[in-house]
């Protein structure tokens, strides 16, 4: 049966895409962030996941406000990376894990999650940058399942609802009848704010608490409303909802393989974690 072999969470700041393109990984500004990834790539070499199921938020590329989903799942054969107006070069297309995607989609609908099903889909920087951090040669050795969470329009799905989505994805995976090894990723955050007079807001203390909770008390953040999260982590810090979806996919305890927090990358508290089921 399929299995979640690990959860990787990481910031997805667009500027990272530029740094990769320009080869700035060893620059003093970038090094403390990029240095977090070699240990993760060693783990990938050892564990060799077959599939990446990525929990992220689309920033106005695949979706617009004419049809804005709360939760969406891709079921396509391939996914394309497109110009988003952020100046990041596009990446090679990603092969879809079709059987698993449909299985998860069907299971989620039966579990009363009102998914948007996407048979054709572009994936934005929140999906592509983490993939490029894991596989810098951009020759993807995995198939993918994209899962999108709305962070565009308030009210957002609650942190509690997002965690439950993760649990439901975990149940779907547990009853997929192939021995597929799945790395679940959650991208975005941690604390940051781009707009308004509070632009530049960072809350390192909350970020450390949240990262700790991912190991010691994974449902801790589900007590917060969307506005509580804005207050605590900044308007864009709400992307931790994607981390909660990812974390929900492993029902039991996890151990930390790797953890890194570096402030700032652009306006963001750039965090990375790799967790394994115990």
């Amino acid at each position: 049966m399929a299995k979640v072999v690990g959860i990787m969470t990481t910031s997805h700041v667009p500027l990272i895409g530029k740094a990769i393109h320009l080869g700035l990984q060893q620059d003093p500004y970038w090094k403390p962030f990029f240095d977090g990834f070699p240990p993760i790539r060693e783990w990938l070499e050892k564990v060799k996941p077959d599939v990446v199921l990525a929990c992220y938020n689309d920033h106005g590329l695949n979706f617009f406000l004419d049809k804005q989903p709360t939760f969406a799942i891709g079921t396509a054969a391939t996914y394309t990376s497109e110009d988003e107006g952020w100046g990041i070069p596009t990446m090679p297309e990603f092969p879809g894990a079709e059987d698993l995607s449909w299985h998860v989609r069907d299971s989620l609908v039966r579990d009363d999650f009102d998914m948007v099903t996407c048979q054709e889909m572009s994936v934005d920087h929140a999906f592509t940058i983490p993939m490029a951090l894991l596989w810098p040669d951009q020759k993807w050795p995995v198939k993918v399942v994209p899962v999108c969470v709305n962070t565009v329009i308030f009210p957002l799905p609650s942190a509690r609802r997002c965690y439950k989505l993760g649990e439901a994805i975990g149940r779907a995976i547990a009853n997929f009848p192939e021995d597929t090894k799945i790395l679940v990723i959650g991208t975005g955050g941690l604390s940051h704010q781009l707009e308004g007079e509070r632009a530049g807001f960072i809350n390192k203390e909350f970020d450390l608490q949240f990262m700790d909770s991912m190991v010691t008390d994974p449902q801790w953040a589900t007590q917060f409303s969307d506005l509580d999260l804005v207050e605590q982590t900044g308007n864009e810090g709400v992307e931790l909802l994607n981390w909660l979806v990812a974390r929900g996919t492993i029902p039991g305890p996890v151990r930390v393989v790797h953890s890194n927090l570096h402030i700032p990358i652009s306006n963001t508290a750039a965090a990375t974690m790799l967790l394994e089921p115990v």
Binding site: G87, L194, V230, E231, I263
Partner: protein, 118 residues
């Protein structure tokens, strides 16, 4: 009309809720078009007429022409959409935008970010 309880606000943190979404639909639709380079180039050739093509109102058009970020938010701009304008069309980064909104210089803004990490 029966009075509603006041909305919760967070100082300095504008929330993109139904009120903003309603106000800014056409502005956001225009910024969504900036996913495409051809559209970004079109805009730069004649900004006012590109805004008119999308049906922006006067205060939205003025905010665009004046690069007035705080006003763009006030007239319903959502940050992901405005980001395509800022980054893709105007070539600004998030620290330029942050400086514009907070009244700091870009260096001050960046220094404050670094201090937050200590």
């Amino acid at each position: 009309m029966i009075p509603r309880p006041p909305k919760r606000t967070i100082p300095g943190a504008p929330i993109f809720d139904s009120e903003a979404a309603r106000r800014g639909y056409l502005l956001n639709k225009m910024c969504y078009s900036f996913n495409s380079k051809a559209n970004r180039d079109d805009f730069l050739r004649d900004e006012r007429s590109y805004c008119e093509k999308f049906g922006l109102d006067q205060s939205q058009t003025t905010a665009i022409l004046e690069r007035d970020v705080l006003s763009l938010i006030r007239v319903g701009g959502g940050v992901y959409f405005l980001g395509k304008l800022a980054s893709g069309v105007l070539g600004l980064d998030m620290q330029d935008i942050g400086a514009l909104q907070t009244g700091m210089t870009k260096e001050e803004f960046k220094a404050k970010l670094v201090a937050s990490g200590k």
